[in-house]
Amino acid sequence: MIEFKDFTFTYPTGRPAPALRSITMTVRPGTICGVVGADGSGKTTLAAVVSGVSPHLTGGEFSGSVEVCGRPVAGTPMAELATSVGLVRQDPFSQISGARFTVREELAFGLENLAVERDVMRHRVEHVMADVGLSELADRSPYELSGGQQQRLAIGSVLAMRPAVIVLDEPTSQLDAEGSRRVFGILDALKERGVAVLVMEHRLELLARSADQVVVLEDGAVAADGPTREVLGDPRLPEWGVGPLQYTTAARRAAEHGLWDESRPLPVTLETAADGFHQVTHRIPIPAGDQP
């Protein structure tokens, strides 16, 4: 569980304006919450705050509260937070420990620091390696991996810790379609296990399939927060600096020409778009003279 209550945060350096403003939102266990917003809208700061990186490591002024698994983030030491919340940073390169020589050792690094028993550790590492598709690269140096592979390594390192809350900042930015679906497949499985997942993601199509809830950030504040279909289909999305799905745009434009049944919600997935447009192209022709 992640709970923000009227949380405002300002970094100690850089721009004096708050990076997050009066954030109130909740992510429940066993759900996936997607966060979208323009560049600089506060997505990365939000991730840093949930994981304790801010204010613990960056410093900064805050008011209000953020609780993870019932514990206030600001008042809980990082070492303790690390057992309940995992952060996958946007730039996977910066997440490599630099202290280990192979992918397998890198995946075990966090567990070693928690003094997890050797057999348990070995079992978990092999399991996670398979989950993120890195088994074949187990003995490679983390620095020899491609950007996409490093991204999967970063995700694996966090999964190995089995946190109750996981935060992923643009986890698919360097992955192709197959790799991205795999990551979201992992998130779906985490959700089933009761993990609270918070994911910053530009690609709305991935959120449309997996997220239960979507939050839009604009200039550090929550502009929208609700069920995925409602938020992603919201016509104000472009005003918030977020590009709508092509399915949604096509349906909205089609509706202007009577080519979309307006009693249907605007589609945010391939399946709902195909259903809606199939209905349009297969409707019974209305002879011009019979129109009311």
Binding site: Q90, V242, A250, A254
Partner: protein
């Protein structure tokens, strides 16, 4: 030809081939997207264009000169390379200094430098961030600083490695119009990407790499047409067509997938193309 690649093969130190007999040419002023899945060899190919990697066999020529016979400094006057990760190329304390670094190294006069930097910051939407520290910017903004620092060097060939990574809605639009602007100036742009949505909107030619080989090379329209006919309208799979058609492991643009899902064998990738196809396929539309 500004770029000529002939039978380029590259193997890692352990013998694994990353590129296997890649051959293609690019004329000055072309906008080319090199697409493929992770591990297809895209980044390795891009790194050959700037001389960071040297061919195991075969040749890469930029402006008629073999890249393995030029120093990286010499090549830098011809090819600008924007890395996938901005931290690979940002070391200065302000955005303005980062952007000025390349032109200064190339020996631009103060006046040339000022003009090049002012332009590069403007077209990347960073003018009001000129005095910011790159580390205080978001990942997407830092990527644009890296892009600006390369554009300021005024090279005839610009190579972009995954330019859409971490870019939001507005930045993507900015990047799109920037590509148009570069084309008008006659500069050649080669982007390495797995983002087909971006590719069909902003590029004229697409080269598909698959496991280190060129699997497809043609215009975007040809790619879409071949892709649409590779799958028969009734949705049944034709294995022969599938093999001869463009590769299918790339994520197609959303509306291309929607058209396929609806069983349309028409090349559709944009909202306008989708709507005109929809109109044709809809029986007698009521006036209102």
């Amino acid at each position: 030809m500004i770029l000529s690649i002939d039978s380029l093969t590259y193997a890692y130190a352990n013998g694994t081939p990353a590129l296997n007999g890649v051959t293609f040419q690019v004329a000055a002023g072309e906008r080319v997207a090199v697409v493929g899945s992770n591990g297809a060899g895209k980044s390795t190919l891009a790194r050959h264009l700037v001389g960071i990697e040297r061919p195991t066999s075969g040749t890469v020529e930029v402006e008629g000169r073999r890249t393995d016979e030029l120093s990286i400094a010499e090549l830098a006057r011809s090819v600008g390379f924007v890395f996938q990760n901005p931290h690979d190329q940002l070391h200065a304390r302000t955005v303005a200094k980062a952007v000025e670094f390349g032109p200064r190294n190339l020996g631009f006069t103060a006046e040339q430098r000022a003009r090049a930097c002012e332009w590069a910051l403007r077209v990347t939407g960073l003018t009001h961030h000129a005095q910011d520290h790159p580390h205080h910017l978001s990942f997407g903004q830092r990527k644009r600083v890296a892009l600006a620092s390369v554009l300021a060097m005024d090279t005839p060939l610009v190579v972009l490695d995954e330019p859409t990574t971490g870019q939001d809605h507005r930045s993507l639009a900015l990047l799109g119009s920037l590509l148009g602007e570069l084309a008008e100036e006659g500069r050649t742009v080669i982007a390495v990407t797995h983002d087909m949505e971006f590719c069909v909107q902003h590029f004229e030619r697409v080269i598909v790499l698959e496991r280190g080989r060129v699997r497809w090379d043609g215009t975007v329209e040809q790619w879409l047409a071949a892709d649409a006919t590779a799958l028969p309208a009734d949705g049944s799979r034709d294995d022969a067509a599938e093999r001869s058609g463009p590769p299918t492991d790339l994520e197609r643009p959303q509306l291309t997938r929607l058209a396929r899902e609806l069983g349309w064998s028409a090349p559709v990738a944009t909202v306008d193309a989708f709507l005109s196809e929809l109109r044709e396929r809809t029986p007698s539309v009521p006036a209102n």
